[in-house]
């Protein structure tokens, strides 16, 4: 009898949460993924940060001031969160949207009227607006706290490029609904490229780029043409903006974001209060 009780006791002990946790941690599967056990010492905590491809981008230690909302406004984190939201919703929209003259506009309407969860495009749109605002506020915070100063000056520059990429993502996404607003907004916006020095056909120095009597920079060979794939906003522009919006710019932005986050760690974590 005592033996049976002992067996039952053992059985209960072996299924206690602590025991289960321990036995899971001893499996090869767990150890192959996480390497380090429960991070209960400083050394293990550091090894966890170094051993994970995601966490190694993050500072090993964060100052108490670094997680104070009144200091960071969490705007960098919110920007990244919005980028993830936009990537996810954008991916979903790509299942329905076709970037051609015949389909672009009706696909946008269908995304609202015919596809379940018709607010998906609105989430993408409002997320994009919010991301632009969050980027500005993030930069404002970084500027006001002097966090652009050495040793963080390189990271500030990466951030400025990321700001430009954010605006370009907004700009390219603007055309895709292919309505009157999109069409004329991009017509007006892309006309700025006409004035590119040497590379735009109405820009300074464009007349100097010539072979004898033949001007090499004209409205079918300049920077604006490369952007639009045509002499006006048409089919070529829609496709080019789509490719830039869905693949080109997010790829570059993602690459730079990895650098941006990693440099925060290398430059000594989130800056302290002044």
């Amino acid at each position: 009898m005592a033996k049976i009780i002992q067996t039952i006791k053992n059985l209960f002990q072996s299924v206690s949460p602590a025991k289960i946790g321990q036995s899971i941690q001893e499996t090869q599967l767990y150890r192959s993924i996480f390497r380090v056990g429960v991070p209960d010492t400083d050394r293990k905590r550091m090894l966890v940060m170094l051993g994970s491809v995601f966490l190694h981008l993050h500072p090993v230690k964060v100052r108490k001031s670094g997680i104070r909302m009144r200091y960071t406004w969490c705007m960098g984190g919110i920007t990244f969160f919005l980028f993830l939201v936009l990537t996810f919703t954008g991916l979903l929209l790509m299942f329905y949207y076709r970037p051609t003259l015949d389909y672009a506009y009706v696909d946008i309407i269908d995304l609202r009227e015919q596809v379940p969860l018709g607010i998906m495009r609105e989430i993408h749109r409002w997320g994009a607006h919010a991301m632009v605002i969050a980027v500005w506020l993030h930069m404002f915070r970084v500027f006001m706290t002097g966090s652009y100063k050495p040793p963080r000056e390189f990271n500030w520059n990466v951030g400025v490029i990321l700001l430009v990429l954010t605006l370009l993502l907004s700009f390219t996404g603007y055309l895709l609904p292919w309505d009157q607003l999109a069409m004329w907004a991009i017509t007006v916006g892309s006309n700025m490229a006409r004035a590119t020095p040497f590379a735009g056909h109405e820009g300074p120095g464009a007349a100097l780029v010539r072979l004898g009597d033949i001007t090499l920079v004209n409205n079918a060979s300049d920077a604006r043409f490369a952007l639009l794939g045509g002499r006006f906003v048409g089919e070529g522009a829609l496709l080019r903006f789509y490719v830039l919006h869905c693949v080109g710019l997010p790829l570059v932005a993602g690459f730079l974001m990895a650098i941006h986050f990693w440099r925060i760690r290398r430059d000594g974590g989130i800056s302290g209060p002044l």
Binding site: T187, V188, N218, A220, A226, G230, R231, F232
Partner: protein, 222 residues
Amino acid sequence: MLSVLSAMATAAAVLLPVVIFIVVISIAMVKRGEISMQGEVHEVAATPVAGKAAAAIPRRAFFSWMGVAWTAFTASMVATASATGRFMFPNVLFEPPATFKAGTPDEIQEGQVDERFKQKFGVWLVKDIDIQTGAHGIYALSTVCTHLGCTPDWLPAAQKFKCPCHGSGYYRNGINFEGPTPRPLERYAISLAEDGQILVDKNAKFQYEKGQWADPRSFLKV
């Protein structure tokens, strides 16, 4: 045929320097004894064996070989970059041609703004008096607003071009008089083809503020 040839030339321009780079590097390293054809790798600096092999090609010569190799590599990178850039400019455009025939001059009434070619070619033909010479004739106005590039509407009742984007307004002769636009509409080159039709050439444009409307190509006397 031409495009095939140019594609082959581009491929050669890109690949040849790369091949040269690899060959030159290999030759130099084999001679220097850093790698051997038998697939063994020698320690260059540490062992006396490598010292003997290194005598086959002097250190300075090795670096000049490297110079050739890197020049070839740089050339291939430049060729790749320019080929990529050229890729963005297609040889054929599926857009309306820049030069087109627009019917005979008597199809347009005196004082009329002809909108037949607005949609496809972006051109208004206007039969009017030239504001500078007072001559009777036809001119071809660009439908691109000189403010930010939208397309204005011709309002017959008000006898003006009005841009819906930001409200710029132009008289029938293209001179701006209201809204944010800084300058008049542009004229395109206009002439009479051999078959008696109007020939509009959008490759040549004439700006009033530069005095180019005095150019006889910007006005067709009838």
